[in-house]
Amino acid sequence: MVDKNLALGTVVIAAALTVVIMSGMFYFGGVLQDAKVEDMSSDLQRLEIDRRSQEISRAIASDMLGNDCRVLDASISWAVKNLGELERKIEDHEDTERFEGDGFRMLKREYTNLLLDYWLLMREAEKECGVNKTRIVYFYAYDDVCPMCDDQGTILTHYRQKYVDDILVFPLDVTLDMDPVDLLIDAYVLDDEGEAVYPTMKINGEVYRGFVGMEELGEILEEEIENGYNETEESEYNETDGQEIIPLS
């Protein structure tokens, strides 16, 4: 039988042990979080190294052959195959994230830079070498800002898997507070009243504000893939006071 003092002592020790165990849990939680970010970081690092190698290959090809189209084509094909894997990990991480960490946010910003870099590369490849892949810039946010983004993401994932060799999706989290993303938001996401509309997709040269259903998106993509992207369909730059500000394609 436990007497009153012993009971109190036991409760105090149990409480102290609980604090120790909870602290241990938080510690392991931190270790897990670091391991997850590290896992994505190494993927990103690999992608960035590959991207750098592609640039060097381009420079070599230009110098030796006077034409870098073959390297550009290979780079785009590589991006179509490899960017999706990290994107998927980022999605999984966001689904399970309980605590917002700076590490993950930084990583996502870096990844967004890489995506935009490929987006520009793709544009260049189309212009200079006629590389013909459909590119979708997808502006999304979480539920509170964009309740339909989940559904739009599901449909986009379906088509990305269906047209795995023909489509490259560039998902941009509009809450990341990055200059290049903000520039694109100003250019494509704001409607006539200046209000941001989510989700928004820019499929090749065309902007689609608001949710696009399965069937409609299917038809759009089919047409885009079939016809290819025609650079002359839109002007290259929006000009304001003679200053080039926003790349449109």
């Binding site: 039988m1 009971a7 149990a14 849990m25 939680g29 391991a35 999984d92 991480h93 309980r98």
Partner: protein
Amino acid sequence: MGFTTNLYLTFFAVMIFSTVLWLMVYYMNLDKISKDPEVKDYKDVTFLVPAYNEEGIVGKTIERLLELDYPENSFSIIAINDGSEDGTLDELKKFEDDIQIIDKENTGKADSMNVALESVDTEFVASMDADSYPTKHYLKSVMGYLDDEEVYGVTPALKVCRDDTLAEKIQWAEYIYQIFLRKVFALFNVQYVMPGPGSVYKTKFLKETGGWDDSTLTEDMEMGFRMMSKKHKIENSTNAEVMTDPPSNFRDLFNQRTRWYRGYVQNCVKYKSMIGRPSGGTLGVFLMPLNAVWIAMLMFFLLHTAYNLAGIAQGWVNTYLLLGYFPLDLSFSLQQIEFFHIFLVFFFSMGVGTVFLSLYTASEPVNITEKKINYLSFFIIYPYLFAMFWVAAFLDMVRSDRKW
């Protein structure tokens, strides 16, 4: 961190605290877990066996009581036929040379025991539900504790007598776990139930305090609260095995548990003056508030799980409506592991450890192959079932004023 995450973390802390506390109490008293005090002199005991429509089992109960390893002239049996409509009385009459039989109109279990209590002249009295029976050494294991003047009651180690159906299998594991829990509760002086099958009392205490309370849904729990409120000790013997007949299906189990849990709330209200006050002892200061947190926590878990499952189902339907098919994704990555999974692994390990400890305490072989359904259902189904019964009990309390 969101509100829900904070709430879960608070509950996890409570779960860890409770588990650590009971494990500490267990290990601090290892020498007392399986060792009962020896019986110095064989004190007289009267068994009260109230029976209502128990023709199928009451004969076995009486037989087992008569076979107890205890001097024949030191215990007697009073069986009460509480207005049964089946052959219970005929079954009892088969033993009329060895036991006293009271045949009365149906007034309920507590009142039946009180009627019999009037005829008891032994120092101790034991209750034995008609659907339960003791093992041979039960009484010897129990009676040694009563040499201590401060001990007013002793509880047995209850086990289910069969585990054929799923409901019985779950209860099999639950009762084994309860043997562990009842012992640590006794060691921590917070045992608040004197189970109907096999609890032994000081007759004087019962008579002085008016016998069993027939106004409560759980008179055995009321008796535990009453003893605790008067600062009397209740001991427990893990060797005093009593086998009880469990509800065979979930409907009967549901009815039994909602009655028990309503009874618990009823007793908490009755003894509310114990809560948070030093005069309420460890039960009032510590366990009653802790139990309240546990109950709230389990109901939250249940409702939140239901909410999450509804969300998942809605997500599936939504995806189907969007795509026209269910995309099957069986891929796994490190990114899918989250912070809460660490707690899940921890609680599962603690749960498995506690079940092993309970098996050891209950002197039951582990027997994983044969009892795998019992263990699995206890881990997977029982927590939700337990929480569901509590929700149902509360709804029942709100809706009606049902009596036993």
